[in-house]
């Protein structure tokens, strides 16, 4: 047996994840030497520094051509690098927002930040996984960290319920995913995504049932992870019960990483089977998710739950982008509107690159807007109200514009961005996704998407109305300020507004970077 020879350079592509794991280990070890009352302000700083370092590492690899790493078990392509960057942005912002949140509750511990870093390392590795077992293990790394983080604060029943629900359903969905992966392995005889296409097309003619069952089970597993309807039931309860900064990381990081893995798996599977099958499956999921997510969010008076349903709706818009990856030919009657900026390749390649660019930009946009919105939610909530369930009521936002004009402005920006109203990053990202869908010929899905996001504007603007047009409620308590929350808010508001007006820099990156391994 000839054994492979790995050198240190082979591990360099994994550097962002390695940096995060090292940072987490330092945090864990430092906790051993601290008394319970010692100051822990440095822990958040260390986490943010680690996230920035890992994000910067990911950026430096973003313009390298796609390549296999770790003997083909992983790939490093602009897609994975950008995803790692998005995860690091989300991690840094969520960490900043958790400092005062944890301090108010006397719960600042190294383990919290360490688990956040472990989760992000898992997300980064998941974006790079190119083999089904590796992919599954990395999904579990990020899932286990988020299960533990969900039940990190266990005062009262809600967090325990959320943690338990998330754990059971998460484990169940992982099992479904694994079963589907096993069936695909049974049909093809390989777990390597790159090697799967050829055997898949053979198996499709001899054993179509096995391949269909495998594909459907894998899609089901991923649909649980990204909270797509009809596999979304856990989302509102878990998002509500988890500590708010954790919810922020879950809604952006877990979603981004799961989408990355889903795109990578089905991009490769789509080479072996008729893409039409995947197109119809993802179109149905996207349709249900967009419509149900938005409709279910309307009656919510609880802003945290509303944001949970809104995150389901956003998964739907992203699924439109995923569906656009599997069109077999661009819509004849539509000139490639956005793809003209991309160079090289056939129209089909251009349409795919456009869809990838849309997905990536959307994930970045959602990261800034959602983490920002959850940060505002976390500074307004008070622990005493959690049991009563009023901690996140819309009333909390009444008159915020008079009490804290800055926060109200920031929240308004996030709401407009989530609703997709210009001039925010959310508008640009919706534009890109729907443009890609139109170019791919998915007109019906685009119309549903635009209409349902118009429905969404109702519940986003309701928060803005409460903030600006309602009087301050009697007996409202003073709101505490802290440098870290302010920094997180300033950064995300700036990104939401500036990238909405001048999307140039990131778009420039994405035009070069919207390529995935095997394209």
């Amino acid at each position: 047996m000839n054994l492979p020879n790995l050198s240190l350079a082979d591990f360099l592509p994994l550097l962002p994840a390695i940096i995060m794991v090292v940072g987490a280990s330092i945090l864990l070890l430092s906790e051993v030497f601290l008394s319970t009352t010692a100051s822990r302000a440095y822990q958040a700083v260390l986490t943010v520094v680690t996230a920035v370092a890992a994000g910067a590492m990911a950026l430096t690899t973003m313009f390298e051509p796609p390549q296999e790493v770790m003997l083909g078990f992983g790939v490093m392509d602009p897609f994975s690098s950008f995803l790692t960057f998005v995860v690091c942005v989300g991690l840094a912002l969520a960490t900043l927002s958790s400092v005062s949140f944890l301090r108010k509750r006397g719960a600042e511990r190294g383990e919290f930040y360490a688990l956040m870093l472990f989760a992000s390392a898992g997300m980064s590795l998941l974006a790079m996984s190119n083999e089904l077992i590796t992919l599954f293990v990395n999904i579990e790394v990020l899932s286990l960290s988020t299960y533990a983080l969900t039940s990190y604060l266990r005062r009262g029943t809600r967090p325990s319920e959320a943690g338990f629900k998330y754990f059971i359903l998460g484990a169940f969905s992982s099992a479904v995913l694994l079963y589907g992966a096993a069936l695909l392995y049974g049909a093809t005889g390989t777990t390597h995504l790159t090697a799967m296409a050829g055997p898949l097309s053979t198996a499709m003619s001899s054993q179509p049932g096995l391949v269909y069952a495998g594909i459907i089970l894998v899609i089901t597993g991923f649909a649980f992870k990204v909270a797509a309807v009809p596999f979304h039931m856990w989302t509102p309860d878990v998002y509500e019960g988890a500590p708010t900064p954790v919810t922020a990381l879950m809604s952006v990081g877990v979603k981004a990483a799961a989408f990355a893995a889903m795109v990578r798996v089905f991009f490769m599977v789509g080479k072996g089977v008729d893409p039409q099958i995947l197109l119809s499956l993802f179109s149905v999921l996207a349709f249900l998710t967009m419509v149900a997510g938005n409709l279910l969010a309307i009656p919510q008076r609880n802003v945290k739950r509303m944001l949970a349903y809104s995150s389901i709706a956003h998964a739907g818009y992203l699924l439109v982008g995923v569906a656009a990856l599997f069109v077999t030919g661009p819509g004849e009657q539509f000139r490639l509107l956005g793809a003209s900026a991309l160079t090289g390749g056939t129209p089909l390649d251009l349409a795919r690159a456009e869809a990838l660019r849309g997905i990536l930009y959307y994930l970045l946009a959602y990261t800034f807007s959602a983490v920002g919105a959850f940060t505002i939610v976390s500074v307004l909530e008070r622990r005493e109200d959690e049991e009563k369930g009023t901690a996140w009521d819309l009333e909390r936002f009444s008159g915020l514009a008079q009490r804290k004009p800055g926060w109200a402005f920031a929240m308004a920006a996030f709401m407009l961005s989530l609703g997709g109203i210009p001039p925010t990053i959310g508008f640009m990202s919706k534009l890109l996704i729907f443009q890609a869908a139109v170019d791919a010929g998915l007109i019906g899905l685009t119309i549903v998407g635009v209409l349902s996001s118009a429905v969404g504007i109702y519940y986003y603007l309701r928060v803005v109305v409460y903030m600006f047009m309602r009087p301050v409620p009697e007996g409202a308590q003073a709101l505490e300020k802290s440098w870290s929350t302010e920094l997180a808010l300033v950064l995300s508001t700036a990104a939401v507004v500036i990238l909405g007006i001048i999307p140039g820099p990131v778009m420039g990156w994405l035009e070069q970077a919207s390529s995935i391994f095997g394209q």
């Binding site: 054994l3 003997l71 511990r109 590795l125 266990r154 005889g189 096995l210 269909y212």
Partner: protein, 168 residues
């Protein structure tokens, strides 16, 4: 009819019987003990598939370590006769129907598989599934998933400690 087929039939039948007992036994202890034997007979099937290492792991880890934990939990919680047999609600009937439906679909798919999966097993060598081969492969070719698993174990440990802490 060769000896492998007879052994497979015996193991398969016993696995099914014990798995059925896991579900239908009234006492949790009986369920847990039936689960032990399910794992054990599954290990027999793994041996027939030339997966010796997995078979040993199955007995050591699942039938051994994990089942001890199971029994500890059952005894600590002092679970008596099962109380889960309530009235058939809509959710229960629908859930049961969905399970049976999924099982039927998978059964149909698996029954259609060719009896001789010749194309898939040609790559298997005599050393396939032995500890020596696995040891060589796991630390070289499969290094990336292996390291990811070690990260997973670390995360699981930290997560368990965080969740088990009495109060934060």
């Amino acid at each position: 009819m060769n000896i492998e087929l007879i052994l497979f039939g015996a193991f398969a039948l016993l696995t099914l019987l014990s798995a059925g007992t896991v579900i239908f036994a009234r006492s949790p202890i009986n369920s847990a003990m039936a689960l032990v034997s399910t794992f054990f007979f599954m290990a027999g099937i793994y041996v027939l598939l030339w997966a010796h290492t997995v078979a040993v792991m199955q007995v050591l880890v699942y039938a051994g370590a994990i089942m001890v934990l199971f029994l500890f939990v059952i005894m600590l919680l002092n679970l008596g006769e099962s109380s889960t047999r309530g009235k058939p609600t809509v959710a229960r009937v629908a859930g049961g129907a969905a399970t049976v439906g999924l099982f039927a679909v998978l059964a149909i798919i698996l029954l259609k598989l060719p009896a001789e999966p010749a194309t898939l097993s040609t790559g298997a060598q005599a050393s396939f599934g032995t500890i020596a081969t696995m040891g060589q492969v796991i630390f070289t070719q499969w290094l990336f998933p292996f390291e990811a698993v070690s990260l997973l174990l670390l995360v699981a440990m930290v997560g368990a400690v965080v969740v088990a802490k009495s109060r934060i």
